[in-house]
């Protein structure tokens, strides 16, 4: 499998701020890779460097195996969808979408055919003669998508393309983008700070934090086996219990916490005697007879398909438990429960 895009040791600083630091990233052909991270973590900067709109201070970027250091944006043959659409306000939808074809010297008849096809693909076949401002936000977004794809670039960059839309439209467009990605076989580098969006759409996710990648992996990997405390906290809901490391061996460890003695997967840097945190997903916590943890249910929240229990452990920390609604209830408010989990479902991180 070839890599469409490769970044190695890429750095970008703005005066004192290091926006992106020592970034290594590769995008496989046909892959949907999402950059996920909090605001200011360097996602847009990374995308701008790939598009050629920003120059990296160090490191190399290669497209289809060739360095692009000297290649200006207009010769990179990348499609880019900007966060706020960036449609040309003085051109109709059709002329917006035709613009990249015109730049490539595609003949008029061929261009018309491709534009119609692209508008069809994004579900706007009858909107070609409108101006961008005569369209709703979601429609503008789809035009931006059509414009970035109509010339069939090998690589599509999208910077929070759904950020400004309401939930229902987001979900609809998520599916559409996914469908287009599969039908066209385009490689996509996608940016979002919405972890749910990242989980539902991506083949792989790169979690950004302060200009660095914390972890790259499939959604399942990141969710079930987070490599750092930041990833565990950023993706999905997590219970954190802190304590001291008793033993580490074979990728497993034992942590002594005020609430009880816990088993978990070990991550890098755990030292016996040092303090550590155990992270476990609410749905991985199960009622257990020979339980490590004991507590009192302080709240029960019915969520339709599941119930959420807030359990106060004996040391006072709270632990959230999520059980399917069709399972027997864990207990009523005020009742005592015993909890546990399979050691593979919890992860321990070094503190600090």
């Amino acid at each position: 499998m070839t890599n469409v895009l490769e970044l190695s040791g890429v750095q970008k600083r703005y005066d004192a701020v290091v926006a992106v630091d020592a970034l290594d990233l590769s995008l496989r052909s046909g892959e949907f890779l999402t950059l996920l991270g909090p605001s200011g973590s360097g996602k847009t900067t990374t995308l701008m460097m790939v598009a050629g709109l920003q120059q990296p201070d160090a490191g190399t970027i290669t497209l289809n195996g060739a360095s692009v250091a000297k290649l200006p944006p207009y010769r990179r043959d990348i499609g880019m969808v900007f966060q706020h659409y960036a449609l040309f306000p003085h051109m109709t939808v059709r002329r917006n979408v035709a613009f990249p074809l015109e730049m490539r010297g595609v003949s008029k008849t061929e261009a018309l055919r491709l534009v119609d096809e692209a508008l069809q693909l994004v579900g706007l076949p009858d909107h070609g003669d409108r101006l961008p401002k005569q369209l709703s936000g979601g429609q503008q977004q789809r035009v931006a998508l059509a414009r970035a794809m109509v010339y069939r670039p090998a690589l599509l960059l999208m910077d929070e393309p759904l950020g400004a839309l309401d939930r229902k439209l987001r979900e609809q467009l998520q599916l559409e983008i996914k469908r287009v990605h599969q039908e066209r076989g385009i490689s996509v580098l996608y940016v979002t700070h919405d972890q749910e969006e990242a989980l539902t759409m991506s083949d792989r996710i790169a979690v950004f934090n302060q200009g660095r990648i914390e972890q790259i992996g499939s959604p399942e990997e990141l969710y079930d086996r987070p490599a750092t405390r930041f990833v565990a906290g950023f993706i999905g809901d997590t219970n954190f219990l802190s304590g001291k490391v008793l033993a580490v061996s074979d990728g497993r460890c034992e942590i002594e916490t005020p609430a009880g003695r816990l088993q978990a997967r070990a991550t890098q840097g755990l030292l016996v005697g040092a303090s550590a945190s155990v992270a476990v997903r609410p749905e991985r916590v199960v009622p257990a007879a020979s339980a490590a943890l004991r507590g009192t249910i302080t709240d029960v929240i019915f969520l339709g398909t599941s119930r959420k229990y807030v359990v106060r452990l004996k040391d006072g920390t709270e632990c959230v438990v999520l059980r399917p609604a069709n399972e027997a209830a864990l207990g009523a408010r005020g009742s005592e429960v015993e909890l546990g989990w399979a050691p593979a479902h919890a992860t321990a991180f070094r503190d600090g």
């Binding site: 709109l53 200006p72 499609g79 960036a86 003085h90 101006l131």
Partner: protein, 267 residues
């Protein structure tokens, strides 16, 4: 104004507006009326109406020459100022030029520096170059004077416009010049044309630099009016003033029409 809003405050405000309008327009109206006077000297109200001063204007070579010089001066100087000012504004707003704010401030200097000093400076520079008393000298002078207005107008239009549109054009395959021509220029065109018209009016009205740099042969309308006022003057001066006013009015209407047309097209 609707009837139910006729509170004392509204009345007072309306009266004040009318007062200011009268104060601003009255002298202008007087001049226009006098230009159609049949009397041989400035007199208001005129005893009768005639076009004799306009006939006088067109039959006096000094005035017709002055009008011709003014046109030969304002056309190239306003075009030059618009081209250079637009280029400068674009570079300063969009380019990554170190010290852009300082350069911008320097370009604004002709607005701040008293006209007399600019005029004297130009006169001094021209003396060594033999440009005093030439049309070229006047064109350069007026271009310098109009430039800051063009830069300011176009720069503010560029700042309002989303820079990402050009970036988008560039990712879509447009080289910089194409992106400017196809995306940026159409969007800032109203500002560019506005500043072209403004530069034309500035040139037509300009007196101080013209006084220093012009000669008896190359004498624009403003200078001719000035020297006429120094001697004994008759309603011809009112006629030429009315012509100037008419020109300014025309430009203003052109500008408004431009904006309205554009608004309609985008609506």
């Amino acid at each position: 104004m609707n009837a139910d809003g006729m509170t004392p405050w509204r009345l007072l405000r309306g009266a004040l507006c009318i007062l200011v309008a009268v104060y601003l327009l009255a002298p202008l109206v007087v001049v226009v009326i006098i230009s159609f006077s049949s009397a041989s000297f400035l007199q208001f109200p005129p005893p009768g109406l005639s076009l004799r001063w306009y006939a006088q204007l067109l039959s006096t070579p000094a005035w017709t020459n002055a009008l011709l010089v003014s046109v030969k001066l304002l056309v190239p100087s306003s075009i030059l100022a618009t081209l250079m000012g637009t280029a400068a504004a674009y570079a300063l707003v969009r380019g990554r030029i170190p010290g852009a704010t300082v350069i911008m401030a320097c370009l604004m200097l002709p607005i701040v520096v008293p006209g007399m000093i600019t005029a004297a400076a130009l006169f001094g520079v021209y003396r060594g170059m033999g440009l005093n008393g030439t049309l070229t000298g006047l064109v350069i002078g007026h271009t310098v004077l109009s430039l800051p207005y063009v830069v300011a107008t176009v720069a503010s239009a560029l700042r309002v416009q989303d820079a990402r549109l050009e970036q988008a054009a560039s990712t879509l395959g447009a080289p910089p010049w194409t992106a400017f021509r196809r995306i940026t220029l159409p969007l800032i065109l109203p500002a560019v044309l506005s500043s072209l018209l403004l530069a034309a009016i500035l040139s037509f009205d300009e007196l101080i630099v013209s006084l220093f740099v012009s000669s008896a042969r190359v004498r624009p309308v403003a200078v001719q009016m000035w020297s006429n006022l120094l001697g004994d003057f008759d309603p011809t001066i009112a006629a030429i003033a009315t012509v100037c006013f008419g020109f300014a009015l025309l430009v203003l209407i052109a500008d408004l029409a431009l904006r309205a047309g554009r608004g309609l097209r985008l609506a």
